[in-house]
Amino acid sequence: MSEAILEVKDLCKHFQVGKNKILKAVDHVSFTIREGETLGMVGESGCGKTTCGRTCIGLYDRTSGQVLYKGQDVHQLKGAEKTAFRKEVQMIFQDPYASLDPRMTVADIVAEGIDIHHLAKNRKEREEKIYHYLNLVGLNKEHANRFVHEFSGGQRQRIGIARALAVEPKFIVLDEPISALDVSIQAQIVNLLIKLQKEMGLTYLFVAHDLSMVKHISDRVAVMYLGNMVELTSSEDLYSKPMHPYTKALMSAIPIPDPKVEAEREKNCIHLEGEVTSPINPPEGCNFCTRCQNAMEICKNKKPELREVEPGHFVACHCFGEAK
């Protein structure tokens, strides 16, 4: 088993949203990401998956806990170490329309990192690098001097990927990289990401709400609910034998492009009523207990801990509690 590249220990990120109101976006989350793997992170909107991704790479300050990147505390880095860290860790954003500067040419966008980290010795090398990375993501030379508004959504996402790759990172946080794109274009981008990972030995943290895509690209998947991690396991296990009631409900809500299977699914579907409760001052016990069909008395009072139920399969639910 390869080594852990990122270790997250008991990470909390709380936002103060008013007098005596604390929004617990990420609450006591721990996990590790091994070198060369893809960890998928899924959950409904407002579950803290994006905040978690951003806190992991130091875009947000933490409230408590620790994030170790190759043994170094991400939030304690200073000066040259911080610069080096930022070269190794990159991010690709959800909205390809908002995350690229409309007043810069594509060449300048891609080269921004190269310039900051002095990766090109001269103008010629800089240009070569730009063309190389554009080529890598399926764009060509002619695109380099154009502006962002001239591109389609899928092409813009490719520019965002080229920009992230240009500094030769090791670890990339992908924050819903495909949810703004069409189905046919989604497949193109996912294929590209998988190809790049194989070629360059990248490690991904893939944040998304589309479970079928996450399953496809990830080695392991973490399910988040209201700032807590409720299940963490390999992607095969998660889909073949989900344990947490929330994961089960999420699974059964995925529509399947097949009318017969779909009619069957609808019958057996676990209908999740209501919506995510507010993360401001969440319930005392298990966060999911307000929507859970198997909620017991203990769920209302005590927060379940994430524990290893089977080798490599972590669940936070009282149903899989003390008995094991």
């Binding site: 409904e44 069409d182 046919s184 496809h216 809500a253 399947i256 492009p257 097949d258 919506e275």
Partner: protein, 339 residues
Amino acid sequence: MSKLLEVKDLRVSYHTYAGEVQSVRGVSFDLEEGEAIAIVGESGCGKSVTAKTIMGLIKEPGKIKEGSEIIYRGQDILKLSKKEMGQYRGKEAAIIFQDALAALNPTMRVGKQIMENILQHNKSMSKSEAFEEAVKMLEMVGIPDARQRAKQYPHEFSGGMRQRAMIAIAFACQPKLLIADEPTTALDVTIQAQIMRLIKDLQKKLNTSVILITHDLGVVANVAKRIVVMYSGKIVESGNSEDIFYHPKHPYTCALLNAVPRLDLENKQVLASIEGTPPDLLDPPKGCPFCTRCRYCMKICCEELPEMTQFGDGHQAACWLHHPMAADCERPKEMEVSK
């Protein structure tokens, strides 16, 4: 069952500084009373423009071309006067949009927005009666504490509830036709399931005809009886949902079906993506619009537009592969003819 809506050879163009963008290029389909159909396609294929035309919402620089007809219960709605259009919109046909926050008025209480529609079409109704009706609508779409909620503003609602409020507005006057333009694209899977179930229940209960517009084939599988697949302003295939899902007859439909990752697929397998992008509608190609991205493209495809081939039971597709002369050509395995 009688026909509720007939769209005949609809053509819509946008006149921009760069030239004429032909968004919809000859679309024809019909809809029966109480039936649900789906229009599926990528962004820019003209599906939303088609929906807006049916609602009479095309504005400058958009223009509906001569010869287009939309017959609603025997009347061409493209020829309606402004006043008649006001009667038709809301009372006969209603639409729900993708982005509920942008579609709702942020400065008006949700209840009042529902009342607006009710009062418009029932002139004799008093305000308090209309408010009661609005509360009833909110209850029907499953919003708890409807009475309090009716007095709140859209920003106090969550995404799923805003979409429910939009559905309440749309159903307020019991329209015969509901157009749902990507109603769940901005929502989570769990909420998407709730909203789709709601639309389906209401459709059955009120016997409303529904046109569901989406790019996600998964969503339509169990809702729509018939599916229309659009590509660059044209219908490339249409038929009932089993035919489309199990026996697609157009390479584009096959590719769309294969591009969706299935849970039973092996991990990290290369997805069958559709390379390239849809053609520019400023200057649409002479031949089949899909020819540049089609793996089975032949010489004729780039030169001439394929005719619709009929396969019975309303299933039709526009592809040269169905021409008798192309019988031996390679084709997607879903389209293989059993011999």
